[in-house]
Symmetry: C2
Subunit: 209 residues, 2 copies
């Protein structure tokens, strides 16, 4: 008899037949979905509801974990800054140990990240959507900045001009390439492109000749 059935979940909301009410790790699932959403709908096409749908969850579910859309993008930006630093560390690990080579390697990692995740790169550097006064995001961003300063001073940089020059040239290359400009460099094959980027970055170095 149907009466025996205790309460029978109203509907397995059609999105996933066997989805449990509680997701388990919705927070990280939403972050992953948000990054995917940014990657293929772009910064301006980003939709919180679409992110929720991507994670197989109702449109208001993200609110409990992140408050609002700004909160989600703030958390994503913090995670992005950590990946940003990781991309630089990956290059540094396979480069020569001398300070100048390490600095150039960091610059190549800077560009790697921008090319691999252009929209996330924009979220970090040009968007107004994340809350940059957030503690976690602030710390992640500060870590990236500190790493840059350390690299520059390690390579012999003494003035703020040295610091600014290195940062600007790496950032300029990364941003232009991420936007699809600078085709003369962007269309090069990986090894040739790395060589050219390295040569350009070296121009900003303190003792460059």
């Amino acid at each position: 008899m149907t009466k025996d059935i205790p309460k029978l979940r109203p509907e397995p909301p059609l999105t996933s037949a066997t989805r449990p009410y509680h997701h388990g790790d919705l927070r990280t699932a939403l972050l992953a979905a948000a990054e995917a959403e940014l990657a293929d709908r772009g910064m301006e096409g980003f939709s919180l509801r679409s992110v929720a749908k991507r994670a197989g969850v109702s449109h208001a579910a993200p609110a409990h974990h992140f408050g609002d859309a700004k909160g989600l993008l703030t958390a994503l930006a913090a995670e992005g800054f950590r990946q940003f630093l990781a991309a630089q560390a990956a290059r540094e690990a396979v480069a020569d140990r001398d300070p100048a080579s390490q600095l150039v390697a960091a610059g190549l990692g800077y560009v790697d990240f921008a090319l691999a995740r252009p929209t996330l790169f924009r979220l970090l550097w040009q968007s107004e959507r994340p809350d940059f006064s957030d503690a976690d995001l602030g710390e992640a961003a500060r870590a990236a900045y500190t790493h840059l300063v350390n690299q520059v001073t390690g390579a012999g940089g003494r003035s703020t001009a040295d610091e600014a020059a290195v940062w600007a040239i790496a950032h300029g290359l990364a941003d232009l390439l991420a936007a699809g400009r600078l085709r003369s460099v962007g269309s090069l094959l990986q090894p040739a492109r790395d060589a050219m980027l390295a040569a350009i970055i070296r121009r900003a170095l303190p003792g460059a000749a």
Copy 2:
């Protein structure tokens, strides 16, 4: 007697008591309103309806002149590129006539524009909203690029690396300053800042020492 009144416009739609039905030059008024909207609501807060309200016109009025929001932002970006070039020309006019000084002046104009109109700067370089395949916008952007190449070759640049280095360093400085980063440079007073920027830009020059 009220009967004599021929037709009596239903309502001077409250926005402006004496507004005529036809605006006169709504197209340019909308462009100005759009730029103002970008300036104080930012790229992500941009609203077509708000732009229309700003111009004192109904929410669907822009459609006839620009098609859709993308069309408006495309026209605004084209106009922006022309102002972008004008900012460089203004610096070049008051600089020494030798090619290297002219190139540095162009870089200072690049930064001037980014600082004066940060959101418009982003519309030109990082947004996906304008239609960059549009003829007018394409021509305006190409003109800016051509000017850069001419400046570099004029200053002795021969390789694509020279071109990329100059572009990247000017763009990097402009973008970071527009975003409020690079405080060590951005917080300087105008003369000191110009001097430092010029010194940094010179590092990218072909024959830099």
